[in-house]
């Protein structure tokens, strides 16, 4: 097995230290940093598929995100030297809505979106509708993601959609909502376009939207 295949396998098996060693090794062998990023992405993708098949759990998704992020840091310097920048797939604005401070799922979703190549603006928790609007204007984001766990969050989601509407931005963006309790009832009530209780599936929805343009 070549070093590239070994790297892919190390990421999929979540062997953290081995992954970092191999990232350095293939870089030293002269492999293009962009190609290495693609290997890492493929690894995270396979981890996600195993997660969907219930062979892997949230812990494994978190670890794959961590391995991706730390590896990307190793590659950063090399990418700067070659004046290469990784092209972003698109811009996503995300936050836990007003009145709710739960963010376990949101943070994992953010890491996976970044691993998938999105430019993510994470507003944090307890975020007022107007802050979402301002950030969408500023970044020209095409995707807005609301996170929430409590039923109070639903009311805030509704208000955030209304605020995007009033600002004339609703037609410009797609809205996805996420959190353990969200379902079709929540989505309709919140005026969103999609919902997910599964970070990996959520990333698929967002990347598909961005690819469709």
């Amino acid at each position: 097995m070549g070093a590239k295949e070994e790297l892919l396998q190390a990421v999929v098996e979540l062997e953290e230290e081995k992954s970092y060693t191999l990232v350095k090794k293939v870089l030293d062998e002269g492999v293009n940093p962009k190609e290495i990023i693609d290997i890492l992405r493929e690894g995270v993708e396979i981890v996600g598929e195993r997660f969907n098949k219930k062979e892997y759990f949230l812990t494994e998704l978190v670890m794959s995100g961590e391995i991706f992020q730390q590896s990307a840091k190793i590659l950063e310097t090399a990418m700067k030297e070659e004046s290469e920048t990784s092209e972003s797939l698109g811009v996503v604005v995300i936050g836990t809505v007003k009145g709710d401070v739960h963010d376990i799922g949101k943070n994992i979703f953010v890491t996976l979106l970044q691993a998938a190549g999105c430019e993510v603006h994470d507003l944090g928790v307890d975020i007022h509708a107007e802050k979402f609007v301002a950030k969408v204007k500023e970044t020209k984001a095409k995707i807005v993601a609301y996170s929430g766990l409590l039923t109070v969050a639903l009311d805030s989601m509704k208000k955030t959609t209304q605020a995007l509407n009033s600002a004339g931005l609703r037609e410009e963006v797609k809205i996805i909502i996420g959190g353990l309790p969200v379902d079709e009832l929540w989505m309709n009530e919140a005026g969103a376009d999609a919902y997910t209780d599964n970070a990996f599936k959520g990333v698929k929805i967002v990347t598909n939207w961005l690819k469709e343009g």
Binding site: L58, E60, N107, I108, T151, P181
Partner: protein, 383 residues
């Protein structure tokens, strides 16, 4: 207020019968109500925590408004929970709990701020420090004060009175007179769940070592809480060791042995143990067969498959659940009635069933009543 006496059994009799895996007069029903009264009664979220008389009054009011149900909350109990001097996941003396009237408006229910990735409450180095020094050094007065500690001494006896009132006057068992937390859950909230999930991969042996060190005293802390309020019930909750979080391998190594030890000890010491499982536990339900038979009840939310639970645990543990909380806010009485009936149809036979759900603070009263009423009519056992 007067007790409601319209049915053949009292709630205490009904609950104990269902727990012993026999058929009571009807299926017991338990809406887990904590802050719901703030929407319908003249009481604030802050008073629900800090005023044991006012909150007891509010709980009695809503109990009557709904026509009675089978497990109730003692007024003031939430003060003991949030101002717990011992390290627990609900204690504002340890964790970043936003409480009403403090970091929140007087009418906003509490929320736990998850520990940040970069600046968690404990670092990975603190695992060794815990083994060396224990846990009490982690207590602080950022969210609660010395004044609260003094108040604890005054509120404690009031809560004890309220507990006794539910059991003897209303003849309804109380919810969570004390609570046991596993080392796994405590460490996860102290580290923040994302950091803790990385620790699970990086230092599983260290987590085991700390858990072994903590478990016996953490068991005692829960018992102490219940004994201080004169209570008989102990809650053992779980959320972060479910299939929504960790693998069976990690569950077996880092969670189950400690959970089992805690629950078994509480049963052996004569407590009524209420296991409260949030998120999805379906693929690990069979482990619960290792717990004492007929002495417990197991609450699950909609993410765990209650029909599977009946199949796997029906002859061993009384099951509770599992309507989806947000349905009580967004749904209709007809939707609630339909789901309640489905649970009764598939799980009531032979006893060992409670219908229940956690009720959100903004739930519609008619939806809660629909669940209660359906159990009282459709849930009657035919002799």
């Amino acid at each position: 207020m007067e007790p409601i006496k319209e049915e053949p059994m009292t709630s205490v009799e009904r609950v104990l019968t269902a727990m012993a895996l026999k058929e009571p007069d009807r299926v017991p029903v338990w809406p887990l109500i904590d802050f719901l009264p703030i929407k319908y009664y003249d009481v604030t979220a802050q008073e629900m925590i800090e005023d044991p008389d006012k909150s007891q009054e509010a709980y009695e009011w809503i109990y009557h408004k709904l026509g009675g149900y089978d497990i109730a909350m003692a007024g003031g109990g939430m003060f003991m929970q949030y101002i717990n001097p011992f390290p627990d996941i609900f204690s504002a003396l340890y964790l970043d709990w936003r409480l009403p009237g403090r970091m929140l408006g007087p009418n906003e229910p509490p929320q736990l701020v998850e520990q940040s990735l970069d600046d968690p409450f404990i670092t990975e180095k603190d695992y060794d420090k815990i083994i060396e020094k224990g846990l009490l050094w982690l207590g602080n007065f950022k969210r609660a004060s010395m004044k609260d500690m003094k108040k604890l001494g005054k509120i404690g006896p009031k809560v004890a009175e309220n507990v006794v009132k539910w059991w003897t006057h209303f003849q309804v068992p109380t919810f969570a007179d004390g609570a046991g937390t596993t080392p796994f859950d405590l460490l996860s909230v102290f580290r923040g769940s994302t950091n803790f999930m990385k620790d699970i991969y990086r230092f599983p042996d260290k987590i085991k070592e700390v858990s072994d060190f903590l478990i016996d005293n953490m068991i005692l802390m829960g018992e102490y809480g219940a004994r201080m309020s004169g209570g008989k019930t102990l809650l053992v909750g779980g959320a972060r060791a479910s299939a929504d979080f960790i693998s069976i391998k990690h569950f077996e190594e880092l969670y189950w042995p400690y959970f089992k030890k805690m629950v078994t000890r509480y049963v052996n010491d004569g407590f009524i143990v209420q296991m409260h499982l949030d998120t999805n536990w379906t693929d690990r339900l069979h482990y619960f067969k290792e717990l004492p038979k007929g002495k417990l009840y197991l609450h699950m939310d909609e993410r765990t498959d209650i029909f599977k639970a009946k199949e796997i645990l029906g002859d061993h543990i009384c099951i509770q659940g599992n309507l989806k909380p947000s349905l009580f806010t967004l749904g209709t009485p007809a939707m609630i009635e339909k789901q309640t009936k489905e649970i009764i149809d598939k799980c009531a036979e032979g006893g060992g069933l409670f219908v229940g759900a956690e009720i959100p603070d903004d739930a519609k009263l008619e939806n809660v009543k629909a669940m209660v009423d359906t159990c009282k009519t459709y849930g009657v056992y035919k002799k």
